[in-house]
Each structure stands twice: as structure tokens, then as C-alpha cells.
């Protein structure tokens, strides 16, 4: 089992990864997400042994790597799938997949499973992007790694392919029963594929949890915003025993809340666009439409509440309101929403 403790990586004076701690389960897929430059790729390179680490320890059952005792990549029994595939251009698909194998049975298995049988003798230059990524995956899994690292494996592919290949890779990893760390900057990919998600910000792990918890109970406003459209609504939250249902009180309705960071009193309620309803009405209006984005099956509205808060609302595409129109927005969700202390210390 891979365990990482206090891992730090510095490039010169800049600390790119800061005190990372994580453990990887038996056949778990851990997604690492974060904006560009948050250190995700650096973490993978450090785990693979491709760059030196400046602090901490990376440990697998057979080895442990520290700054003083660097274990070279070839001794780590690690598999890595690269963003640009890194297929050897002078070798055929078969030769790539069998790169260091004496027994090619496993290579045949993965080539067949990933539908690459007819490309065995092709050189990588002849393959399409999706095929290249499948070859890269087959090569990695055929070498029976103890854990797999995937460095934005889908970012060089077009959108239609991304979606299907995402599941293909997940299936293959699960079939191989090998744990994996998968780096992406696409939160949607992270939410749908991962068993757990780690959200990185400026080299620090902000949260490490299941996708559901990361989305509904984010550890910070950064995580809340990164995992999807997030609005913050002024609210009151009574933390005394009298409030048995943990009800949060707002101008536009009351909902159950989950207090985070000991929020109480004046608080900010995390509202996702689908927690709200929007109806066109003159009489009981409480907001004005700022802008609207047509998304096909839905419309995304930004509305300004009369108290100044701004909310984003996603409603059915049939609901067409023009910017400037008065409307009524309401909290309609029944599941608990995250409650943050008032802005300034969140």
C-alpha cells in the first residue's frame, strides 16, 4: 500500500508541494484535482521518482524513498500514463507494450481487452489520440505495477472521446485491481471517476474525501468554488440546542445546514445553482435577473437579490427570462447545505 507522509518538493526557493500526506487503498482510484500550477504533476513525478523530493517520505511495502535515500524510478514498481502518451516512436505497439516483458501473455491480455489487437504492428505515429492513450495504458498495466500514476491522461484528446475513454480507463484499472492516482484539472472528471478526491491549492492538499463530501461539505470556499458553480448567501444559523433540525434561516427560505469551521450566528450558506428555483413574478419578486446563459437542456441565471447577494440559478430551458426582469428566487432543496462563517475568515 502506497503511503506518503509530509512530502515536500521545492524548485529552488519555491515550494511546489507542501507537506502532502496520503494513503492509497487496495484498488482505490484517487483523483488529484486543482488549478494549473497547483503542483499536481509535480506530485506524480515525485512519486514516480523522476524528480528529487526535499522533505518527507514515500513508502511502499518493498521500498521507502526519502530526500537522503532516493529510490530510482525503475526500482519503484510504478506505472505511469503520461499526458502526451510517451510512446516510443521507433517501436511498434506490440514492442511498446512488451517493453520489458519476458512473458508476453499479460501484454496480449491488455491489448485484446483494450481493442488494440489489429494495431499490434503499427508504429505509434499512425495511431489516433485515443488509440495512443489505450496503448500507453496497456503498456503500463502489462508491466504489473504496484500502483499507477495518470498525468492528465485525457487532456490531449477531444471532448467526445474524453467521456468514453474515462470509463474505459477506470474499468481497466479496476479489472487490474491496482490502486491509482489520477491527476486532472477537470472537476467533473474527478467527481465521476474517483473513489476519493484530493483538491490541491498552491501545493497544499485542501481536502481529501469522497466525491460526495467534497461537493456537499467542502473544507474551504476554494474547494467549494472549484468543485462547481458556488454562490454564498447571507444567512442566520442558531447553534444552540433549541435548533434541533439545524435549520438555516435566509431571506429566500429555510433549509437544513451542516455547520463547517464552527460557523454560527451570521453565516454564509453555500448554494449550488440546482438548490434554487426561479419564477417570473412581479408581485412577490425578491431579485432581478443580471444575465442568462443558454445551455441547451437548461439555463443558468445570475440574479441579484435585493439585499445585494448574488446567486446563480440553474433551471429548465423552458424558463426564459430576460436580463433586467424582476423574479422570485427560492431555496427548494431538502438536503443539508454547507454553512461557512461570514466572509473574511473563510
Amino acid at each position: 500500500m502506497l503511503s506518503v507522509s509530509n512530502l515536500s518538493v521545492s524548485y529552488g526557493p519555491t515550494r511546489v508541494v507542501d507537506k502532502l500526506n496520503l494513503e492509497l487503498g487496495q484498488d482505490e482510484i484517487l483523483m488529484l484535482v486543482g488549478p494549473t500550477g497547483c503542483g499536481k504533476t509535480t506530485i506524480l513525478q515525485a512519486l514516480a521518482g523522476l524528480i528529487p523530493i526535499s522533505d518527507g517520505e514515500i513508502r511502499l511495502s518493498k521500498w521507502a524513498s526519502t530526500p537522503a535515500k532516493h529510490v530510482p524510478p525503475e526500482k519503484r514498481n510504478v506505472g505511469m500514463v503520461f499526458q502526451d502518451f510517451a510512446l516510443f516512436p521507433h517501436l511498434t505497439v506490440q514492442e511498446n507494450v512488451c517493453f520489458r516483458l519476458k512473458d508476453t501473455a499479460l501484454a496480449d491480455h491488455w491489448l485484446a481487452l483494450l481493442g488494440l489487437d489489429s494495431f499490434r504492428d503499427a508504429k505509434p505515429a499512425r495511431l489516433s489520440g485515443g488509440q495512443k492513450q489505450r496503448v500507453a495504458l496497456a503498456r503500463t498495466l502489462a508491466h504489473e505495477p504496484a500502483f499507477v500514476l495518470l498525468d492528465e491522461p485525457l487532456s490531449n484528446l477531444d471532448a467526445a472521446l474524453k467521456d468514453s475513454l474515462r470509463w474505459e480507463i477506470r474499468d481497466a484499472l479496476k479489472k487490474a485491481g491496482v490502486p491509482a492516482i489520477w491527476v486532472t484539472h477537470d472537476q467533473e472528471e474527478a467527481l465521476s471517476v474517483g473513489d476519493r478526491i484530493g483538491i490541491l491549492n498552491k501545493g497544499k492538499l485542501e481536502q481529501l474525501d469522497t466525491p460526495e463530501l467534497c461537493y456537499s461539505e467542502p473544507a474551504s470556499r476554494f474547494v467549494a468554488r472549484f468543485m462547481g458553480e458556488a454562490s454564498f448567501l447571507s444567512a442566520q444559523f442558531d447553534t444552540s440546542a433549541a435548533n434541533t433540525h439545524n435549520t438555516v434561516v435566509t431571506h429566500i427560505g429555510n433549509v437544513p445546514g451542516t455547520p463547517l469551521q464552527q460557523a454560527s450566528g451570521d453565516v454564509d450558506l453555500l448554494v449550488r445553482p440546482d438548490d434554487l428555483s426561479l419564477t417570473a413574478t412581479q408581485s412577490e419578486s425578491n431579485c432581478a435577473v443580471e444575465w442568462v446563459r443558454y445551455e441547451g437542456e437548461s439555463r443558468l441565471y445570475a440574479v441579484a437579490l435585493d439585499n445585494g447577494d448574488e446567486l446563480k440559478v440553474r433551471v429548465s430551458h423552458e424558463n426564459a427570462l430576460k436580463p433586467g426582469t424582476r423574479a422570485r428566487v427560492q431555496l427548494i432543496t431538502t438536503h443539508p447545505l454547507a454553512v461557512f462563517p461570514k466572509q473574511g475568515n473563510g
Partner: protein, 506 residues
Amino acid sequence: MTHWPKSYPLAFVIALLALLPVGVLFALAQDSAQLFDTHNLRVLGNTVSLMALTIVGAVIIGVPLAFFTAYVQLPFKRFWLIVLAAPLALPSYIGAFAMYFSFGRGGEIENVLGITTPPISGLWGSALVMSLYTYPFVMMTTRASLLSLDASLVNAARTLGLSLAASLWRVVLPRVVNSVAAGALLAALYALSDFGTPAIMGLDTFTRVIFVEYNAFGLSQAAMLSLQLMVIVALILFVESRIGGASERPGKHLSLFPAAWQRNLMLLSAMPIVFMAIILPLGIFTLWLVREGTGGFELSYAWNSAHASFLAAIVAVLLAIPVAHAAIAGKAGRFMERITYFGFGVPGIVMGTALVYVGLQLPVLYQTLGLLVMAYVLRFLPLAVGSVRATAENIDSGLVKAARVLGASPREAFVRITLPLTLRGMIAGAALVFLEAMRELPATLMLGPTGFETLATYMWRVYEAGYFGRAAVPGLLLVLLSGLGLVLMLSGERKAQFTVTEDDRS
């Protein structure tokens, strides 16, 4: 990172080796009697005059041809470009040899046509030959810069009412001055370090006088002269390094479509140059071959040339691999690579002088093929380094990482990934070194073991003895080899310089 790249120690040793010649010359010049005398002053005057005239000649021929090949659309454009660049691939002593024996009283032209032509010799003769074989430097650098200019500036100037000629002069020329200068300095370097041409033309430049001193056993005097020559070379290299290549944002490429007669007139006016630089030597050597046969020529000369050059090519590539990889690995490595480039600036005659002395100090090496191969390697190593580095740079670093992650040791990754992917560059580099070494004259003359005659040295003996007819076979072979070199240049890394339109460059 605390780890030194593995290529550094080797590259460091090779860089030190490249500095060897100058160290040797300093040691040698210590016991020189004369630092500078009037004879020296005359040699300096000759050398500088030849250099200056070569610059003038190369610019006068090269710049108009650069404009012509860059802007004018003509049929078989690539063919003409190659023909006009071809003199670059020929060693100038071939041209000097042919012209020396063609012109003047009793020359081949008088023999065949009965017309007496003025002789080509001395300062003006040397300058003419040099200009004819170095103008492609100016043409290529200027052309590359012209191609990168944005045509809309010229079009703007013309819509503002300037004539085409005036807009080229006032808008385009000022922006390519640096490139012209860069090409002119390359021509100057060539003129400084070439031995064959001034020697055949009887002009006392540094290279010729060094050879004379060497033959008169004045090795320390030769070393002193070599150092003086190196000072001028260093000066030129310094100036060259100061010329910044002002890179502009590349834009739409200017194309001109002159009337057919104008175009043909321009092409026609370039023909005397092609005739003098390529056709005349070819014609003269062929004439001699027909008239005098292959008498005096032995196959062993060609074999000797090939043998020594082949060894040099292999050694150069082997040494180039660590240097090229060090250059990619980091700053210090790049500096070591720069040092190995030093040998390229050392004229062959100077390298010869230095290594003759090394041979005298280490009798194991004296009069051995090894010493000659070493001279070739030190001089032409940069060619191999350049080719190997170009292909090595193109390898995605992710490939080596991928191999490592799959369980390959650094050694295995190098052997199975890096090596096969850089093989092309190694072969190209070896071929370039081979062809250069085949044509090398001065160092071969000084370092070849007794009785070791090559194509180039045989031509020199023929010149000394005056049996010029016997130069036919070696001359033609050398021209052929130069043609091969040109083909290699065109298919290799310098391909981009020979592209016809901007579309080909991608």
C-alpha cells in the same frame, strides 16, 4: 538539483582536449626569437587585405543573390537555390587550383582557345577565389533574414508612394544589415583560416607563412605566427558574438513576379559566378582527365583519405554523444559544448602546428595516423556535436521517463530509447565529419605519416611539382565528395535554410 548529469565528466574532459591546441601553442611560442618584425607586418597587411577584399566581394555577390532567391518567383526555384549555394560545399583550393592553371600566359584557356587572359594570382586572385566560394555564407544568412521579414512593410512603403527599389533599400535593407554582417564575418573567418587558396596564389598570408616556417623547421616561429592569427580569429569571433540576430515577428512572405525577360536577365547575370566557381573547375579537371588520363594517380590515395576520415568520423561521433547530452542537460554543459566549438575556429594550419609539437613531445604519436585523426576530430567535432544535439533535443524527455518508470535503468533507457532515436543524427554527423576530413588540406600535409598521400595532399604535390594535369582524378573526386556533402546538408538539419517558400518551413 545536487546531482551532476552523468554526461558532465566526459564532456568536461573532451572540452579540455579541445583547448589543448592553444595551450600547446603558448608553450611553443615561449622560445620564439621574434615577436614581431617587418616581415610580420607585411604578412599581417596581406592577411587583413585579403580578409577585407573577401568581405567586400562576398557582400557584393551575396546580397543581391539573397534578394533574388528570397523574393523573385522563378521556375525550378529550388534547383537554382542549390546551384547558387553549391560553392559553399567546395573547398576553395579546388577553385584556386583550377583558376591558377587556367588563366594567364600559358594557362589552359590560352592553350585551348588561343586567347590570352590576365593571370589570376596574388592578392587580387586570392580575393576573387575567396569571394566566389564564400558569398554563399552572406547569401544564406541574408536570405534567411529576408524570408522572416513581414512583407506588409514593403507593401506599405509602396502604397505610400516609394518605388520597389527604394522601398527595398530604405525599408528592407536596414533590417537585414545584421544578417549581412554575420554572413560577411563567416566569410572573413574562412578567408583568415584557409591555407590552400593563398598558398596556390602565392600570397604571403599567415597560413602560408606558417607552413613555410614549419617546412624550414622554425616550429616556434610558426607557433608565434599561429598565435597572432588566432588573435585575429578571436577578434572576428568576438565581433560575431556581439551581432544580435534581431528577430522580428515573422509575417507574410514577400513574393515578386517580374516579367520573364527581367527574371531571365537577373538569372543570366548570376551565371558568370556559377561558371567561375563550379563549371570552370569541373571543365578543367575533365579536360585534363581526357588529355592526360589517370597517370600518376594511385587508388591508395583515395583509400588513405577515406581510411583516416572514417576513423575521424567514428571518433568524433563517439566524443560528440556525451558533449551533446551535456549541452542539453544544463548550463555548465552548454558551456562545455561551446568550448568544443572552439576547434572549428582554429585554422587547420594552426591545428597542424600545435599537434606536430604534441607529436614531437610524445614520440608514441609522432608520425602516426592517430595524430592526424586527432587533428580532424578536434577541428570537426562541432559538426558531429551539432547533428547529435539536434536530434537528441527533439526527443521528448517523457520517453526516457516512461522507460524508467517501466523499470529500465538509466543505462537501459539510453541504449533502448535515446540511442536508436538519435542514430540518424549520429550518422549525419559522422558523414559531415567524414566529408570535411576528406577535403582537409593543411593539417593533413603537416601531420600525415611519411608516404601517407591523400587526395588533398596529392593535389598539393601536383601543384608544387607543376604537373597540374595529374590533378584531374583527385580534383574530380573532391568535387564529387563536395556534391555528396551538399546533398547531406540539404537532407539534414540545415534543410530549413534551403526551403523555397515559407510553407515548406513548417
